[in-house]
Amino acid sequence: MDFRVDEAQRELAGGIRSMLEGRLPLERIRSSEGAPRTVGADDWAALGETGVFALTLPEPAGTGLGLADAAVVFEELGRSLVPGPLVGTFLAAARDLVPGAAAGRAMVGVCAGRGGPPWMLEHLSSLDAALCPGDLPSGGPTLLSAVRDAPTAQRVAEPLDPLTPLWQLTRLPAAQPLEDPEWRLFSDGAVLTAALQVGHAARTLELAVAYAKERHQFSKPIGSFQAVKHLCADMLVRAEVARAAVHAAACLADAPDVLAAEATTAGSTPAAFLRRSAAGAKLLADEAAIANARAAIQVHGGMGYTWEVPLHLHLKRSHVLATSFGAKGELAALLGSLPAGARAEP
């Protein structure tokens, strides 16, 4: 067993990071704050060309990698605040549900599918379709193909995240059911969303530590005060624990034999065990992202409460991500209702 992030994965992450620094630096991303479309078609296509949506597709269409590799890439996307329906487009591409998704020529959103009306849909005017991962009142997962033309859609004026434009719908457009007996749409989507959240958690930690070293009060760097140090240490703990959970769930998704063995030990089925791992990873990653953004704001003092410093963008995006593929209470209740799985009999 070697559960470390390997050389190839580090290179993959490095490649994505430099691509993003060149093509989608923060100033460029921030220039579309509040716009109805926050990621241009050309930028989306550039992400597609880099292979972001096609990582797990077999060659030549994709790169034939696993969900663990995708998790490493999605952590980078989260870290860099890349807007757009990243997870929905990836899931649709991996299942060949929407033409052009793999190449970044289509955008596929995610519709939480409950809680409405009104239903809230992100990036609606740019979408070619939306996925409902399986908790619609009507039953299993579905694909909403004609979502952009939904007659009742109304754009909201004050979306929480200025980089995630939002529409409200009083009626959902016609849905086409999807085959997904093993809840993979949910599991994979939860893992990738969690990977984005780990990216946010890691980035706000970086920003907090950098600020704590440079900002002086009482003639000392504020990072020398223990109260500040401990905020930062707790941020690292949350990020590392969540990252391990995300990577473990992704590795299980990639290795059916390992998953089957773990599931048997836990007295579970592979599909249920994967869902459990994905739900747990999502729960912890949501918490880490939100708590780290809050802690980073605290470390920045008044500066942290400004629009200028990007911490609020991480905080708001983390809240957006926390609402798809299971909100906190749902995930915790799912995990709490699993069979107890006490000591396995030898």
Binding site: A233, H247, A333, P346
Partner: protein, 393 residues
């Protein structure tokens, strides 16, 4: 990134599992919590069985008489032992995990020959005399003094929180042989039967005498019992602190997972979750946390297997685990309600309530943020050594 065990690791697991399946049922129930002589005998007997079967010191290097297994195999060993319900390392903890490994790394050939085999065979118990009444978190300020007199040191001072001192044969003792700070410390092997050692048992929160205060009055310790050079004891100590290479709390983690499952089953039997979704959510949250810590453990042992050191994971694990273990203890106390008010095993209409074990676990969880480096000190370490924030002072 791969969670797949190698063929060799898998073979080790299967062989061990088969042995445990026949051996563990023959081991009797553990003695009472506060019967230390019986606990010593029980833990040593288990160590002897491990020795006879070739499983003593799985993680010790071959030169030290161990099996020389990788940290991954060590993880498999702990996982299988917990699954099979095998006895915990108990009073053998310091011998197997601190003193033994220190002597392997820093001891002389004759020290290795004298002290290592009895630890592996389950014949001698060790305790750790590091903390003092005035030196806890700031261990390097310790004041127990050792003065050379011919071929002996004459030791005076006091140690505190010494676990299992009452039943120990030897103590790994840190003493001051030089000036102030961490450069004036030496590491000594002290027989607990030496004249001048007084052991005063201390009662823990649990009501048992798990640890003691030691008073050392003109205790003569042969210079030959020093491990490493004089005044080099701090470095000698640091060698062992990194020994467990990422698996330090695996037994506790697996035990917590089992207790969580039992608590959930208890709640279901008594229908505590209906109308109280928050309780169920807390169970679910802890399951996510323990699963994640298991994943983090796999990451740490992978790091240790490949590089020899567990990387940054040790402090991160300890901080997170102790917090979640305390949350488990608190949840158990809440759910058990009045059954949490005693550690006597209670029975309800559906059978045993399992309260005794949960209450004991709650007690123990309280010390997780104190023993082996408090959480505050761990946070300092994470902030200063991992994140590079400026040191205080």
């Amino acid at each position: 990134m791969d969670l797949r065990f190698t063929a060799a690791e898998q073979a080790f697991r299967e062989e061990l599992r088969a042995w445990l399946a026949t051996t563990v049922p023959a081991v009797g129930p553990p003695p009472a919590h506060d019967d230390w002589p019986a606990r010593r005998a029980y833990d040593l007997a288990w160590q002897r069985r491990l020795f006879d079967a070739g499983y003593a010191g799985v993680d010790w290097p071959v030169e030290g008489g161990g099996r020389g297994s990788s940290p991954v195999e060590q993880l498999v060993f702990k996982e299988e032992c917990e699954r099979a319900g095998a006895p915990y390392v108990g009073v053998n903890f310091v011998g197997l995990l601190h003193a033994g490994p220190t002597i392997i790394a820093e001891g002389s050939p004759s020290q290795r020959e004298r002290y290592l085999p009895p630890i592996l065979r389950g014949e001698e118990v060790w305790c750790q005399g590091f903390s003092e009444p005035d030196a806890g978190s700031d261990l390097a300020s310790l004041r127990t003094r050792a003065v050379r007199d011919g071929d002996d040191y004459v030791v005076n001072g006091s140690k505190i929180w010494t676990s299992h001192a009452e039943v120990a044969d030897f103590c790994e003792l840190l003493v001051r042989t030089g000036g102030e700070g961490n450069r004036g410390i030496s590491w000594l092997i002290v027989p607990m039967s030496s004249p001048g050692i007084e052991i005063r048992p201390l009662r823990t929160i649990e009501g048992t005498t798990e640890f003691a205060q030691l008073f050392l009055n003109d205790v003569r310790v042969p210079v030959a019992n020093r491990v490493g050079e004089e005044n080099d004891g701090w470095r000698v100590t640091m060698v062992t602190l990194s020994f467990e290479r990422g698996t330090a709390f695996v037994g506790e983690l697996l035990e917590a997972v089992r207790l969580l499952g039992e608590l959930q089953a208890f709640g279901t039997r008594l229908d505590l979750f209906t109308g109280h979704p928050a309780l169920l959510e807390r169970i679910g949250h802890l399951r996510a946390a323990f699963d994640a810590l298991w994943a983090l453990t796999k990451r740490n042992v992978s790091e240790a297997t490949q590089t020899g050191v567990p990387g940054i994971g040790g402090s991160v694990f300890k901080l997170a685990f102790s917090e979640h273990a305390q949350a488990l203890g608190n949840l158990a106390m809440e759910m058990l309600a009045q059954a949490s008010l005693c550690a006597d095993p209670l029975h309800g209409p559906h059978g045993p309530l399992g309260n005794a074990e949960q209450v004991h676990n709650w007690y123990k969880s309280i010390n997780l943020t104190i023993a082996a480096g408090t959480s505050q000190v761990q946070r300092n370490i994470v902030a200063e050594r991992i994140l590079g924030l400026p040191r205080a002072r």
